[in-house]
């Protein structure tokens, strides 16, 4: 009896991973970027690159999204809003940090209103360097996330504290 139950568990988890790999809904947050990366992210929807063939759709609300595409060095005003957007997304959620200045502050390293990189604020799964990365490089980043997920979904590093504590 036991192994049929285990069998069913495997089937369900396989179907679940399959559906997560083939239907990715992304939401885009610009935390102070120069909008170079944002237009390349938007360009991936257009006919020449068309990410809808992978099942990737850009959604408006973080509620409907699985992947958060963050671009830009987190400025101080955008920091709390980035945390709040990340908190609004339902589990399982992943973060892709697009562009050199979201990984390490890039050219704006050391500016007084810039907090530096995104992974100081929220846990990041895939980093895409480039200023801005080509639309194909953004697609390559998403594919890296998919292959990374192929081996079962990574345990999401739960954010212990909620927004108010983190900000205070």
């Amino acid at each position: 009896m036991a192994n049929t139950e285990v069998f069913w568990k495997q089937v369900i988890s396989k179907v679940r991973t399959w559906s997560r790999l083939n239907s990715i809904w992304a939401v885009h947050f610009n935390s102070g970027s120069c909008n170079g990366c944002d237009i390349e992210i938007l360009a991936t929807l257009t006919p020449r690159y068309d990410v809808e063939r992978f099942g990737i759709k850009l959604q408006g609300s973080p509620r409907h999204a699985d992947v958060l595409l963050v671009s830009g060095p987190v400025t101080r005003q955008a920091r709390e809003r980035l945390l709040r957007t990340y908190e609004q997304m339902p589990e399982p959620k992943f973060v892709i940090s697009v562009g050199s200045c979201s990984i390490s502050g890039g050219v704006f390293e050391g500016c007084y209103n810039v907090g530096g990189s995104v992974d100081e604020v929220i846990p990041v799964d895939v980093y895409i360097p480039g200023c801005p990365p080509r639309p194909e490089a953004v697609i390559d980043g998403i594919i890296q996330l998919l292959t990374h997920l192929q081996g079962g979904s990574r345990p999401t590093a739960k954010r212990p504290q909620i927004v108010e504590e983190a900000v205070a």
Partner: protein
């Protein structure tokens, strides 16, 4: 109709599970056609299926101030409304699972039950976007509901019966799209309004009010609402195909006619800009209602003299 075969038709073959799968397939055809018209490749055939399964596997966040019963009950009510509407409609060319005189009115009421549920869900989750989305969904419903019903009454008058299956058999011999072209156009555009496809998608205008009434839904609730929408797409298409395009005799004519209708709707979707809510209501009441009333008048006069 033994209860077993009735249960089978309701739960499995033409109405229940099969309808949901075909509904998802039709939603894929719609997205693929719109993508192809926009010169892109578009999603793969199992895309809506993957979306729904993924949404079921996601966490459902419940807003604090939303009333629990309504929050979980409304999606189920919406889907069941759409599914029961499918019982009276000749799906896949088979005879409808159940039909009685006057079931046309019940079908149309059940179809608009879904929009009411979306409106209520938007009000219940009380986020500012869903409030605006809910008011827009309900305002738009008042706009297209009457002309859509009247457009379907045209063929009912011609077939002198309010039973869908009878109108279907009557339509097999006379192609009513030729005799009542205005009614056909109003019915098709009314269906686009009901499904909130562009140019009537201001209740869920992504760039104004994020996702309209469903902004706060995620996971299962969103999946069930999307299922309800795709089932409604199928039911609406079958209704118009069986009334205006010469009845739906078997599977093949059903498929051809509904997919041709879907193609026309996809072209309309990709060629027209979204209308503001006041413009939609204006167009429906100024042009929609008057044209369809004229059509009905013509029908009455024609029926009065001839028979």
């Amino acid at each position: 109709m033994t209860t077993l075969s009735a249960l089978f038709t309701i739960l499995i073959f033409p109405a229940g599970l099969m309808l949901i799968l075909i509904g998802m397939l039709y939603e894929w055809i719609d997205r693929k056609l719109v993508a192809r018209l926009q010169n892109r490749i578009g999603p793969r055939w199992f895309q809506p299926f993957a979306d729904i399964v993924k949404l079921f596997a996601k966490e459902q966040i419940r807003p604090g101030i939303a009333n629990l019963l309504l929050f979980f009950g409304l999606p189920v009510m919406a889907l069941s409304g759409a599914l029961t509407a499918a019982l009276y409609v000749p799906l896949m060319g088979f005879a409808p699972a159940h039909s009685f005189p006057g079931d046309l009115i019940v079908t149309i009421y059940l179809l608009s039950l879904l929009t009411m549920c979306i409106g209520l869900a938007g009000w219940n989750t009380a986020s500012r976007f869903s409030l605006v989305g809910a008011t827009r969904a309900l305002t738009q419903m008042f706009a297209y509901e009457a002309p859509f019903l009247l457009a379907l009454l045209g063929p009912a008058l011609a077939a002198a019966s309010w039973q869908v299956s009878e109108i279907n058999t009557y339509a097999a011999s006379h192609w009513m799209i030729l005799t009542q072209p205005v009614g056909f156009i109003i019915a098709l555009i009314g269906l686009m309004g009901k499904l909130e496809l562009p140019p009537f998608d201001s209740p869920e205008a992504e760039t104004e009010i994020v996702a309209g009434a469903l902004t706060e839904y995620s996971g299962r609730g969103l999946a069930i609402f999307n299922l309800g929408k795709s089932v409604e797409l199928i039911v609406g298409l079958t209704l118009i195909a069986s009334f205006y395009l010469g009845g739906v005799a078997g599977i093949l004519p059903f498929l051809i006619k509904t997919i041709v209708l879907l193609l026309v709707m996809a072209v309309l979707q990709s060629v027209l800009t979204r209308l503001r809510i006041d413009q939609t209501v204006g167009i429906w009441w100024r042009f929609g209602a008057i044209l369809v009333l004229a059509q009905i008048l013509v029908m009455i006069i024609w029926k009065g003299w001839l028979s």
